[in-house]
Amino acid sequence: MAAFDHSPPPFFKQGPAPLALLSLYVAISISLMVLDAKFRYLEIGRQALAVVLQPLQQLAHSPARGFDQAGEYFQTVGALQDENQRLKHAKLEVAPTLLRLQQLEAENARLRRLLSVHERQPAGGQVAQILYTARDPFSRRVIVDKGQQDKIAAGLPVVDDAGIVGQVTRVYPFLSEVTLITDKGQAVPVQIVRNGLRSVVFGLGNGQLELRFMPVNADVQEGDLLVTSGLDGIFQPGFPVARVLGIERESSYSFARILCAPVAGVENFGEVMVLAARTPPAPRPEPAEAVEGAPEDKAPKARKKRPGGRN
């Protein structure tokens, strides 16, 4: 009987059927997605591949850098003199503030010591170059050229000359990934400079930010500047984050819809500064102690925020 089932050997070796291969690869892809999205098991594999990819990424960055340098080279003397003049002017303008800053910081430290409040940590960090922006529109991330070799760790805040840009989310040996504050899923605890109202600002994924869970009657105005509140223990307090663009107050919703635009050049291409880690804040007091009424200055998790957290 077996002789009847026997089919002649194929002339050309073709391997497994395409549809079988397809279903195998699709199954592997889908399981990779689930493993990555739900359990984050693939970080080691990512690290290994990133090391292999690093020379390619540096190479891809070189045309942009060369273009920049060529642009600088061909700038006219006039333009440079102009810029020099403007920079001198700007320096002169900020000089009085800067000169007084040292004295103010010293005074501030003294006063804080008098009040026995924790001292503010001075901001320090290292400059990193943005290599490229991920093409994928679903992840608002940039790759910068400093990694584990430069003591970068996941969670460090990243700023530019105007304000907060984002936060380091993945670190490879020579590179790291920075999630921008406009990424959907990135939250920054902020307070309004004008009145000290605290809240959390969330990325929308389209280049804007939203101040969520603010009651309709909250004291927020267009043009308000939001700075980091430092309640998360990650971002140092006082860095500008965003400016309020528009407010929609509808009485049918319990919360106002407040859109903000980032202050920093979040979608720009250039150099950023990765700030050093903050000294860990005091551990959260036990619930029994919290009843005593000591207002905790630094809660470790700012994401677990009360809606419309007021001062």
């Binding site: 591949l49 990819l53 960055h61 093409r135 994928d136 992840s139 991330r141 790759i143 993945r170 929308l204």
Partner: protein, 173 residues
Amino acid sequence: MQATFSSSRILLPVRPWFIALSLIVALLLNMLPTAWWPGVPDWVALVLCFWSVREFRKVGMGWAFLVGIVMDVADASLMGQHTLAYVLLTYFASSLSRRVLWFPLLQQALQILPLLCIVPLVQFAVGMLAGGQFPGILYFLWPLVGALLWLPLTFLLLLPQYQPVERDANRPI
């Protein structure tokens, strides 16, 4: 093999290292900081599509899978997002390959367009399932540009396979 099945000019066989090189160059092009310009094609998808139409015995879903994983790491996207899109693209491209190459180049480009559309559509579906935001209608623009680039791409990638025309009166072909 010929440039198209209807042409009579016979090409040299493709060298495997040239396929690998073209894919690496495509990866490099994908890593250029062009993310903010609309309509810049996904070069890796384009080159993968080209080779799986022309050389479906050499470039199959295994290559697509490998390159997809590399793109996932380079783009910091969800692992498997590019992989799935590229694997589906190569599958459909290689199943079309026996038909597409009978047509002249312009009509080939027209048939390649829906193939290329698979990539952003699959990635869009994955991104939305993973909780993303609608990326804007311009995100779906690049397959059009890619289909237009099919003509120069064919010429460029087949260039090493052309051999000089030898006139020989005694040779049968």
